[in-house]
């Protein structure tokens, strides 16, 4: 781990060069073995020839000693002959002759049984002084005397041959390695170029330029995929950033409206002397605006706390129908006042597993919304219906003006009020449905709005249910 450069480019280059060096080393080793084997085969064959030559050059001296005519090999064109080690033995192992080069060493010790009897015995052996050699021996009949001729050649002859070839290869390898490393370095650099381009572009993306996107080289490539993923993330960030910006702008606007009212009411009242009754009225009107401000600030605080996940849910199981009835009872005076009819249909026994307080808050807010927008004499219908075994849907339809489909997602956003709602004098409007949305979602539920059966709006919330019948969901009405 001591060699772990930070840059992918360097790392890949080193990795590939290392790999190649390893492969080359293996290759060289293989080549050496092959060369050695080949050279020793050749040497043995030449040795056999040499053996025959030696045999032809042997003669008995007058005293019966075996000797070699030394005048021939000088003409040999095979230089190894000069390196020849020669030993002639009697069958009992007595040394009859040793050439000068061998001196008083022995090539292979006493002969083993059958040595050189059937053809040539070629083998590698060690001389008495430990030098490894290639040894070829054969038995001959020299004028009636059986002799064993052994010729040997030092293995270093072969090694010299092998090293020579190997040296050329090894000397060439740095060039190969350097060439490969450069090629890898260049290729990786080219392959990684999009990354540096992406990084360069990413550096320029900040909160002011969230609309910029990373360059996508190709949709299919890994880097293209990466860029695509990052771009998708940027889109999400941009979206929430936009939402936040709009929220801040809307919030300031919402706060500014009552502030402006307070200011002008106060200033106008101070312009001329009026009676105490008028002053009372002025102050009262200012206090109304203060109440509006307070409501907005409190709702905002609740929502921001909810966003920060600082609200603990106290989950329990409770019957949904009873909760809807209770919420409707809370608003009963308003319902009666507008001569609306409220009906609740559905399974009374279905329970919901959630924080009762917050679900109630959501239901009250949705109901309140329905009451607010349904014209006098209209009707509001709440329906409880199981949606599978573990979900229950509560839908609240009204006979109001309804909500245009394009606005159906937006109305749950903070401070969003549809144009017709802006004309109402309701205090603190624009947050009720956001609070409802948050309350439902925090309880593992979903919330939405569609067009209801009477062209009014139909708000629905789905929550985790307990006590829904086993058999699938009943058909929707």
């Amino acid at each position: 781990m001591w060699l772990r450069p930070k840059r992918i480019r360097t790392r890949l280059t080193l990795y590939y060069a290392g790999m190649l060096a390893g492969v080359l080393a293996l290759y060289f080793a293989g080549v050496s073995v092959l060369l050695f084997w080949q050279a020793s085969t050749i040497l043995k064959r030449l040795g056999e020839e040499d053996l025959e030559t030696v045999k032809g050059l042997l003669y008995h001296e007058d005293n019966g000693e075996v000797n070699l005519r030394e005048d021939y090999h000088h003409h040999s064109d095979w230089k190894q002959v000069q390196e020849r080690l020669l030993e002639i033995l009697a069958p009992d192992g007595t040394i009859l002759y040793r050439n000068e080069r061998l001196g008083d060493r022995t090539i292979g010790g006493p002969p083993f049984p059958g040595e050189g009897e059937r053809g040539y015995s070629g083998r590698t052996a060690k001389m008495s002084d430990g030098t490894p050699i290639i040894l070829i021996s054969r038995k001959y009949d020299l004028q009636g005397q059986t002799i064993l001729i052994r010729v040997g050649y030092s293995e270093s002859l072969i090694w010299n041959e092998v090293w020579g070839t190997l040296l050329i290869l090894i000397l060439a390898s740095p060039l190969i390695l350097a060439g490969t490393a450069y090629a890898v370095y260049a290729t990786v650099g080219r392959a990684l170029y999009p990354v540096s381009r992406m990084a360069h572009r990413a550096e320029q993306i900040n909160s002011e330029h969230l609309n910029a996107r990373l360059p996508v080289e190709s949709e299919e490539g890994e880097l293209g995929y990466l860029a695509g993923v990052f771009n998708a993330m940027l889109s999400r960030i941009e979206q929430s950033f936009e939402q936040l910006k709009r929220f801040t702008a809307d919030a300031s606007h919402e706060l500014r409206t009552p502030l402006a009212a307070i200011r002008s009411i106060g200033e106008v009242a101070l312009q001329e002397d009026v009676g105490p009754a008028e002053y009372r009225d002025t102050i009262g009107s200012m206090l109304e605006e203060v109440n509006r401000l307070t409501t907005i600030v409190e709702s905002l605080l609740t929502l921001s706390r909810a966003d920060a996940g600082q609200i603990d849910m106290q989950v329990s199981v409770f019957p949904l129908a009873a909760l809807v009835r209770e919420s409707a009872a809370l608003l009963e005076v308003l319902i009666d006042d507008k001569q609306l009819t409220f009906t609740l249909v559905g399974d009374e026994s279905v329970g919901v597993e959630a924080d009762r307080l917050y679900v109630r808050q959501a239901v009250v807010n949705i109901l309140h919304n329905a009451v607010k927008f349904t014209p006098v004499g209209g009707s509001i219908c709440a329906t409880i219906q199981c949606n599978g075994r573990s979900r229950v849907e509560l839908s609240i339809s009204d006979t109001g003006p309804g909500i245009p489909a394009r606005e159906s997602a937006r109305i749950f956003e903070r401070f969003v009020r549809l144009d017709e709602a802006r004309t109402t004098t309701d205090v603190g409007a624009g947050l009720g449905l956001s609070v409802a949305k948050w309350a439902v979602q925090a309880n593992n539920g979903e919330i939405g709005v569609t067009t209801g059966p009477h062209a009014g709006s139909r708000f629905w919330i789905r929550l985790p249910a307990v006590g829904c019948p086993d058999e699938g969901s009943r058909p929707r009405s």
Partner: protein, 227 residues
């Protein structure tokens, strides 16, 4: 009744002082935690109103120091922090009540009265204002000898107003004490207004003298008009 206000914001302190003096309390104001602690530990007060956000020595420290000296004067905390933990922290530190800014002055008055009434006998179930009479236990109410037929909610509303005669009651107080709504952003204002209108129809319309009045921007008050 002597009240000590520990509040660093001058406008707020002045408004509180004037408001409480108008209610016949004797009021002293301390602008810092140090001064507040000094006054509270050297003089006797019936109640301390303590702002939590004070320079140098904050309200919580002052409260802890007071309780450390085993001074048992009732303390009402004012703060702009309103999480449950903040409340618990304040009450644990020895506060007797807790009011979140911004609050309705009528609510502050109600809380002060409740704290000062502590240990006093339970209020009677027989309530009376001008020719309006209520038996809270029997849930019967009559005006000028004629029994009024009220819904349960209207009765609760009237009882609450009758128990604070001549004092303004805010919508927040009604939502919390009559409707028992804990979340302050529940859209109850319209509901309360309609109930008040219904109650007024039954209580005042058949009679000459109006008892139930709306104080614009503040709330409602039950009182006999001097006219």
């Amino acid at each position: 009744m002597r009240i000590l206000i520990v509040e660093d914001e001058e406008k707020m302190a002045r408004a509180l002082r004037i408001g409480l003096e108008a209610e016949q309390f004797s009021v002293q104001v301390a602008g810092t935690g140090e001064e507040g602690f000094f006054l509270a530990s050297t003089e006797t007060y019936d109640l301390v109103i303590l702002d939590l956000m004070l320079p140098a020595r904050d309200g919580m420290e002052v409260l802890a120091a007071l309780r450390g000296r085993s001074l048992s004067v009732p303390v009402l905390i004012l703060t702009s922090r309103d999480t449950v933990e903040d409340r618990v922290r304040g009450l644990d530190a020895g506060a007797d009540d807790y009011l979140v800014k911004p609050f309705a002055f009528s609510e502050l008055l109600a809380r002060i009265r409740a704290l000062l009434r502590r240990g006093k006998p339970e209020p009677s179930d027989r309530l009376k204002l001008a020719d309006l009479e209520m038996d809270a236990a029997g849930r019967v109410v009559s005006r000028g000898g004629r029994e009024l037929s009220l819904t349960a909610r209207e009765f609760d509303l009237l009882e609450y107003l009758l128990r604070q005669p001549g004092r303004v009651v805010s919508r927040e107080m009604l939502a919390r004490d009559v409707w028992r709504e804990t979340a302050r952003y529940t859209p109850l204002d319209n509901v309360i207004d309609v109930h008040i209108a219904h109650l007024r129809r039954k209580l005042d319309e058949p009679f000459n003298k109006k008892l139930l009045h709306t104080v614009r921007g503040v709330g409602f008050i039950l009182r006999e008009d001097p006219s």
